[in-house]
Symmetry: D2
Subunit: 289 residues, 4 copies
Amino acid sequence: MNSIPDNDSFILRLSCKDSIGLVSEVARFLSDRRLFITESANFGDPATGLFFYRVKFIPESNAFSRSNFSSEFEPVAKKWGMDWELRDAKVKPNVVILVSKGDHCLNDLLYRHRTGALNINISAIISNHLTCGWLAERHDVPYYHVPVNKDNKPQAEERMLDVIEDVKADLVVLARYMQVLSDDMCRKLEGRCINIHHSFLPSFKGAKPYHQAFDRGVKLVGATAHYVTPDLDEGPIISQAVEPADHRLTAEDMAALGRDTEARVLARAVKLHTEGRIFSNQNKTVVFG
Amino acid sequence: MNSIPDNDSFILRLSCKDSIGLVSEVARFLSDRRLFITESANFGDPATGLFFYRVKFIPESNAFSRSNFSSEFEPVAKKWGMDWELRDAKVKPNVVILVSKGDHCLNDLLYRHRTGALNINISAIISNHLTCGWLAERHDVPYYHVPVNKDNKPQAEERMLDVIEDVKADLVVLARYMQVLSDDMCRKLEGRCINIHHSFLPSFKGAKPYHQAFDRGVKLVGATAHYVTPDLDEGPIISQAVEPADHRLTAEDMAALGRDTEARVLARAVKLHTEGRIFSNQNKTVVFG
Amino acid sequence: MNSIPDNDSFILRLSCKDSIGLVSEVARFLSDRRLFITESANFGDPATGLFFYRVKFIPESNAFSRSNFSSEFEPVAKKWGMDWELRDAKVKPNVVILVSKGDHCLNDLLYRHRTGALNINISAIISNHLTCGWLAERHDVPYYHVPVNKDNKPQAEERMLDVIEDVKADLVVLARYMQVLSDDMCRKLEGRCINIHHSFLPSFKGAKPYHQAFDRGVKLVGATAHYVTPDLDEGPIISQAVEPADHRLTAEDMAALGRDTEARVLARAVKLHTEGRIFSNQNKTVVFG
Amino acid sequence: MNSIPDNDSFILRLSCKDSIGLVSEVARFLSDRRLFITESANFGDPATGLFFYRVKFIPESNAFSRSNFSSEFEPVAKKWGMDWELRDAKVKPNVVILVSKGDHCLNDLLYRHRTGALNINISAIISNHLTCGWLAERHDVPYYHVPVNKDNKPQAEERMLDVIEDVKADLVVLARYMQVLSDDMCRKLEGRCINIHHSFLPSFKGAKPYHQAFDRGVKLVGATAHYVTPDLDEGPIISQAVEPADHRLTAEDMAALGRDTEARVLARAVKLHTEGRIFSNQNKTVVFG
């Protein structure tokens, strides 16, 4: 038996108050409709009392209808108070990437997109600089140059939000975008905006983390992908990684060393999010890796 | 809500041919009996067509009876052709440790046992040397000195098997036991005997792996915990880890460097096995970590 | 040719203002006296303008005299303004370990000491509790029970310093010693007192770092060995490591997971220090690993 | 004092029989000529009796002449029987990349070349397929399409060697080039041809290593960069890394997972080689990282 193509799969995601019988009811719902579970993960958090469930299934029959499923599942969801969604795995999420001058994360995302390692549409690239325009062009992605300065920030964000809305973005990725988003914009993108911070958070929040790391003399440098919230660098953490450092490295060396880590950690977070593997759990994440 | 003590938990483990409705039926069986699932993991292997399920639950009522559960579950198991078992999480598995002279893995297991990191009974230590006797004594574990030579191997193994049987061992751990077990003994312990091999298998099978690693000039040295089978160092792999090495290390340095890794990898495998997290899947393992 | 026993080796450590000709002069000094270099490392820090040099050598002749070396090297050292010392590698440094109730780091250090992985004398164990007394006894190390409370802190520290002085401690190790040392005691032990902090500093300074890590939802938990200074958890970092964590771990699970990391990181720092591989470089370390 | 630009640096590399006075003589040679050492590393291998030395220096004066240095150093080198070379750090090594269809390593090398992370010229890309031509074009690197089949292998290799000679290649990189080179070609490129093998050698030599890894059920998958010799996958190892794997991964998943590791390991090996940090030591490498 070969590996089953995602094209035929659907993903059901739900969360609600934890309780006996949840898995049973959902699993029965699926098996009664001859929907074959190929992957499932669940977690009941004793700290918050919440339950999270992600299940991927393939309908035995070609006649499967998403809207039928939804109308039948709605009463179940209501009974348990579920937040839920059903995704068609063959529909690629729309992603908008924001970037400033440093292009290592952007390049990495474009490459993984091209090879299919990331199953997404890159719908637009927005930048406050012209630097990365050629990369966008080579990959045939629309590039929006939206300069930001003290005076035009609200208008600039307005314009970015227009683009994000126009392409129906499922996810906005800050791939080394060096402007702080306004509280308002953060709130509008809550739960669908991922930033890569170039340190092992909560160490070295804010500006120039590699210089902070150099000054502190740490022996590992890291990167953190997290959801963006109005609290700068305080949003729920998705993924982190570190690399060894030592006394021979300047702050610039650390930055160079960290670029690979940043790109990998961000790509991992984008993959997890767009595959529906992440749930928000108050100020944390549940990640079914 | 605090973390639930294991004392109240039970673990259901099962495997069978994969099919629609398995999770549903088991989950319903549990919820119908008001058994609260606190942890569950399953995997359907497309390569072998087998399905593996481990679920941990807490009965809502104190009146839960293991034998009632078993007689009620038996028809379900029969219907699907399941291999299955129900474990009481508060019953500690009996472990017998075999060791030769090098005591780093033994010391580590004894320490983790003492602190409760490993929830096991260490029922006996068997060695072909007297070297580790003092450690056994300090931890109040019976120590059986069973010398092995060309002439007495069958008798020596007989004696070891007697001890293993007497203490009703659920697991036998070769914690740097430097004798090759006979095919017969391997078969008698199949599925419940774990060895630590001091290389990243399948590299450097057989004797003196660190010397082999030194001769080959590898840049990482590793350790592998695996189930013992009659094929030397070919049994299903449970856990592996590596450490960086470089040209400055002698074979002896590599051996010293590797000791920590060996101890950690072996302890991890013992923990996974005794918590019922490992399934055999032909010549491989499914590990619900 | 076999690996050369440390017994015949000497270690020269020096630091001074960086300048052309330093390596040349020291290397010539050694070769003129037929002292065979078996290991050397140096680093000139462009940020501080300081130069650090560690060289290990074996005299060709048995007639080597440390005091002759010293009187001959002194003019060289003076000329360049060196801080320097010559160590006989066969003389084991004296180490005093401070511990409270958690014994995983202590047990690890005692084990490595016993097997020779750490080439040190453990001269004394001091604790504010009786809990670890049995471990000290088993390893035949004097155990000093020095309870600390609000009222007796100065006297308690006095008593500890007496022990440290009596045994001529080259290094004091805080192996999960849960009392904050006074500024005065920190200063008295400056450069020869290593603490293990159970987080990836500078994240989660102060008390209960695993609970802080849990609350923040980090995806890696770590440990940091650093020199103790009057600024709590701010001293020069020696070594750090991390382990992956996820949403399933409670704060207690994280603490359990972190214990191995703490023990390894601390043992590594003790090894580096007692082999003379660490130099202080303002608020950082230079580590010749 | 800022970090010193490489443009002003020179690198002296040498190896010879180990002996007292080597470091001293070389260091004196440099300091007598007012050449400021900014980085140095040496290693005497007790197993082979060989000594390796790499030293990077900056002349105090602008009048430094490489040919003067050489004629003055030659007698020293002769006296000790040194293999040696002097490199001007601002001269970028010429690199030729061979690739088949999989472009992840090629893309990574091109990206690092563009950003300056690899200080090299990519002089040519040679492929037995047309697949990667567009990448070459985008980065303005000449692309040679040299198909290989049973009948034309000698001619094809002839043509490739012509290109390699024409561009005066200092290094040939097999960036997932899926043809086995002839013994003759291996010998012609000895010491300057690096291959990336997609397994943790010596495990899984030869074809389809991820399938071999899948069949064996390993829990880590790896990659190895090594010098090419006529013995397939047996050349001196330069760099290795691994990533965790588990039962859920198909062979294809492992291959996808491994791509990042391959690209990183190969880029690291190319960087080490082109910075003159690797010495051959019989069938192993000495790497000054």
